[in-house]
Symmetry: C2
Subunit: 215 residues, 2 copies
DNA sequence: TAATGTAAAATAATCGATTAATGTCAAGCC
DNA sequence: GGCTTGACATTAATCGATTATTTTACATTA
C-alpha cells in the first residue's frame, strides 16, 4: 500500500465517518473519481478495504453503497464498543505508565477546552470536538497492550462516531463531567469506577441519539 | 464485489488460514497470478481486503507479506477470542430458539464424529476437523443477535484457527469432553458453565500450542 | 577484501481500455 | 392501462499496459 492509497483510504473513511459520503447512498465510481482525483481501479482497491471493515457494503455486480445506519445498528455497535473499550480500559489502567498518564491528561485537556467551546454555544467545530473525543478515548486504552484489540476497537469506534456525527448534538455538562470522571478514575487506577463511568457515558450518548433518531 | 472477486477472496483467506500461504512470506503478485488465475489488479483488490482484516500486512511500496505469527500474537488473538466468544455465547444462550438448538446439536454431532477419527489416529483430515470445530463454535454463538459481533468474531476466530493449523495436534479426550460440556451447558442454557468451559477450552488449546511453539 | 555507486532487471502501483452486467426507456401485446 | 420484451445507455468488473519504485548484479574505489 502506497502513500496515494493510504491517503485515499484515510480520506474516504473520514468522509464516511463524518457524513460527507451519506449513509445508504450509492457509490458512483465516476463521482469518486472527480472527488478524490484517482482512477477507478485505484478507488476500487480502497473500496475493498472499506468493505472488509464494514463502512461500505458491496452489492454483488451492482457496485457499492455506503453502509446504512439504523437504530438497531447503533445499539449493536454501541454494545460492541462497550464490550471492547471496557476490557481495554481495564487492561490499560493495569499497565499504563507515567507516559500514558501524561498522554491521557493531555488528551483530556484538549477535549475539555473544546467542550467549553461547545458549552458556550460554539457549534462550528463539531468535527474537531469529536476528533478530540476520539483522541481522549484512544489515549485511555492505549496502554492495553493488545494490538488486535486496538485494531478492532478503532473500527468499532469509528462506526460509533459515524452515528454521533449524524445524530448527536452536544450533551452538555453531563458529558464533560463523565470525561472528567473517566480521567480521575484512570489516574487513580480505579478500574471499577472507570468501567462504570464509561458504560454510563456510552449508554447516555446512545439514549440521547435515540431521542433524535427520527428515521 | 463479484463472484470472481468473492471466490478469490475466500480462496486466499482459506489458504492463509490453513497455511498454504506461509506466515511472514513475501507475497509475489506474479506467483499469485499463476496460483489463482486472475490478473494482478484483481488480486490487489483482494489483498486490500485481507490487509484490512489483518491476514496480510502491506509494506508500503514493497508489496505485501502474509501476516507473521508469534507467541505474543497467539496470546493476543486468544484473549480477544475469549472476550468476544464468551460474550456472544451468553447472548446466544439467552436468545437461542429450537432451530438454534438443532443447529448446535447437528454441528456437535459432526465434530464428535471427526474427533473419533482423530482419536483413532486418523490424522489425514485435520483441515476438515478444524472446519467442523469452526462450525460448532459458530453454531453456539449464532443466536447472539449482533451482526457486528459475529463479523468481528469471524475474523478473530480465523486468525486463531491459523495458529491452530500451524501448531496444533489433536489434544485428545480433553478437547472432546470440553465440546460435549459446551453442548450440554448450551442446551441447558447454563451461561456460567458454558463460559467457564469455553475459557478452559481456549486456554487449553493455547497452552498446548505453546508447548509446540518452537520458534 | 570490503564498501560504495551505478545500471539493469524485477516488481509493485496506477491507469486507461475492454468486456460484462445492470438499468432505463420505448414499443408491442394482452 | 398494465405487463413484457428488446434495444440502447450507463455503470461496474477485470485486464493489459504504463509508470514508478525497489532489488540485484556488477564495477570501481579505498
Amino acid at each position: 500500500m502506497s502513500k496515494l492509497g493510504d491517503d485515499l483510504y484515510r480520506a474516504m473513511r473520514h468522509d464516511i465517518v463524518f457524513g460527507r459520503l451519506d449513509a445508504n447512498s450509492k457509490i458512483r465510481l465516476s463521482h469518486l473519481k472527480e472527488t478524490y482525483g484517482a482512477s477507478i481501479p485505484t478507488l476500487r482497491e480502497i473500496l475493498n478495504r472499506l468493505v472488509s471493515e464494514g463502512f461500505v457494503v458491496a452489492e454483488g455486480k451492482r457496485g457499492h453503497i455506503v453502509a446504512p445506519i439504523s437504530k438497531e445498528g447503533l445499539k449493536d455497535i454501541a454494545d460492541l464498543r462497550i464490550l471492547l473499550e471496557c476490557y481495554a480500559l481495564r487492561l490499560s489502567l493495569a499497565k499504563g505508565n507515567t507516559d500514558w498518564e501524561a498522554h491521557v491528561i493531555s488528551a483530556h485537556y484538549k477535549l475539555s477546552q473544546m467542550e467549553k467551546r461547545m458549552q458556550s454555544g460554539d457549534d462550528s467545530a463539531r468535527e474537531a470536538w469529536k476528533q478530540y473525543d476520539w483522541e481522549f478515548h484512544q489515549a485511555l486504552i492505549s496502554a492495553c497492550g493488545s494490538i488486535e484489540l486496538l485494531q478492532v476497537h478503532g473500527i468499532v469506534f469509528d462506526k460509533y462516531l459515524r452515528y454521533q456525527m449524524r445524530l448527536l448534538t452536544f450533551r452538555g455538562d453531563v458529558a464533560s463531567a463523565e470525561h472528567k470522571a473517566l480521567l480521575d478514575a484512570a489516574l487513580n487506577r480505579d478500574a471499577d469506577t472507570a468501567e462504570s463511568v464509561l458504560r454510563t457515558h456510552i449508554n447516555g450518548g446512545v439514549a440521547h441519539s435515540f431521542q433524535v433518531f427520527a428515521k
